[in-house]
């Protein structure tokens, strides 16, 4: 049987990737093509289960991704929007480090504000949720606890700029309603957590991780 050209658009339609005119054209088509409508129904049933039961279905894959430690490149591009920007920023950072390095040879060493892994003795904060696409606005943000040596944590939520910041002694925070209202479906956000000791000394910093509330159909 000859394949209908609209068949290839089924996934894009169901995942909200078509532009409004494309969406209209596709919808008009499945009102006229029984074959495409049948395939659309089948695919929709499968995607519905994947989206609603994904946490259970893909638990092992998700757990594997959480424990995988990102490369320095992945850490850098986790919060930078475009690879080109990542390359430009990395190049600028390298040049800056070289210049600072040369300067530091002439001056007494100044306090370091950038923590390396060795300075935190290999500890880092792992962000638990949300870390991937989610179906609804998150109510809670959770991360791994670093134990008693941490006096407090500070969480930062970003879109293109800092959206909200909060200090807590727990390893989770419940999002206030006024902040939840700022999170829109289809938009990308990122968040990060920093851990501080009792004297205000920065102990650990998490990667900045993206999440997206799945856009509405």
């Amino acid at each position: 049987m000859k394949k209908c050209k609209y068949e290839e658009l089924i996934d894009d339609y169901l995942l909200g990737r078509l532009s409004p005119p494309e969406k209209e054209a596709f919808e008009e088509h499945y009102f006229n093509c029984s074959l495409c409508f049948h395939k659309l129904q089948e695919r929709d049933a499968i995607i519905s289960v994947i989206k609603s039961e994904g946490v259970t279905l893909f638990q092992d894959i998700y757990a594997r991704e959480l424990t995988k430690s990102p490369s320095w490149w992945e850490k850098l591009t986790a919060f930078l929007p475009f690879p080109q920007v990542a390359v430009a920023v990395t190049t600028a950072a390298i040049v800056l480090l070289v210049v600072l390095g040369i300067n530091s040879l002439r001056q007494p060493s100044s306090p370091q504000f950038i923590l390396t892994d060795s300075q935190v003795r290999g500890e880092s904060i792992t962000l638990i949720s949300p870390v991937i696409d989610i179906n609804s606005i998150p109510t809670e943000f959770r991360w791994t606890s670093l134990g008693n040596k941490i006096k407090y944590y500070r969480i930062y939520i970003y879109n293109h700029e800092l959206l909200w910041s909060h200090q807590t002694e727990e390893n989770f925070v419940v999002l206030p309603e006024e902040v939840k209202e700022k999170l829109k479906a289809g938009e990308k956000y990122s968040w990060q957590v920093k851990a501080f000791a009792g004297d205000g000394h920065l102990v650990a910093v998490s990667s900045r991780v993206q999440f997206k509330v799945t856009p509405r159909q």
Binding site: F31, N32, Q41, S48, V49, L57
Partner: protein, 169 residues
């Protein structure tokens, strides 16, 4: 004459054939958790039948396009009416839970089991492409394979799921 013959549509066939299509479109637009969806579907079908009886369908477009136009207009009217009475337009959930019928629940359960049974590389492709919503290119970059291979693997994973569902019937 030929056009008149074509316009002689079987109304019962229309209802049987287009009820599921209209239902699908309405639920996608306003969500199955919105209690009015069923009334809206019935209204649309009633409107279609009335217009056909009044000979307002003249065969200038296909019957599918005719019904789609009526469906779209009704959905837009509903959303406009709702937005006037609420401060926010009611947004459907992106993937509402499957309809609360035993048959739908059973199908969802079978799909769940079928996906769980897949080999890791096929489950992973469904996880990346559908659950995380990555594009083919993004999945390809993540797995170190070509975009074409991603499409093939997605297609094959779905084929395996459908095959498993058929064996359950």
């Amino acid at each position: 004459m030929k056009q008149e013959q074509r316009i002689n549509v079987d109304l019962e066939e229309i209802i049987t054939k287009y009820r599921p299509v209209i239902t699908f479109k309405v639920i996608k637009a306003i969500g199955s958790h919105t209690p009015e969806w069923e009334d809206i579907v019935n209204e649309i079908l009633a409107n279609v039948i009335e217009k056909i009886r009044q000979k307002k369908f003249r065969g200038e477009s296909t019957i599918g396009t005719f019904i789609y136009t009526i469906t779209q207009r009704r959905i837009i009217d509903y959303i406009r009416a709702k937005s006037k009475s609420l401060t926010q337009v009611p947004e459907p959930k992106p993937y509402p839970s499957p309809l609360e019928t035993l048959e739908k629940k059973e199908l969802s359960h079978q799909i769940f089991q079928a996906i769980k049974k897949l080999k890791p590389k096929y489950r992973e492709i469904l996880y990346l492409y559908y659950y995380q919503g990555l594009s083919r290119e993004e999945v390809a970059a993540k797995l170190g394979i070509s975009s074409k291979k991603v499409s093939e693997r997605v297609h094959y994973s779905l084929k395996l799921v459908k095959k498993e569902l058929k064996t359950k019937k």
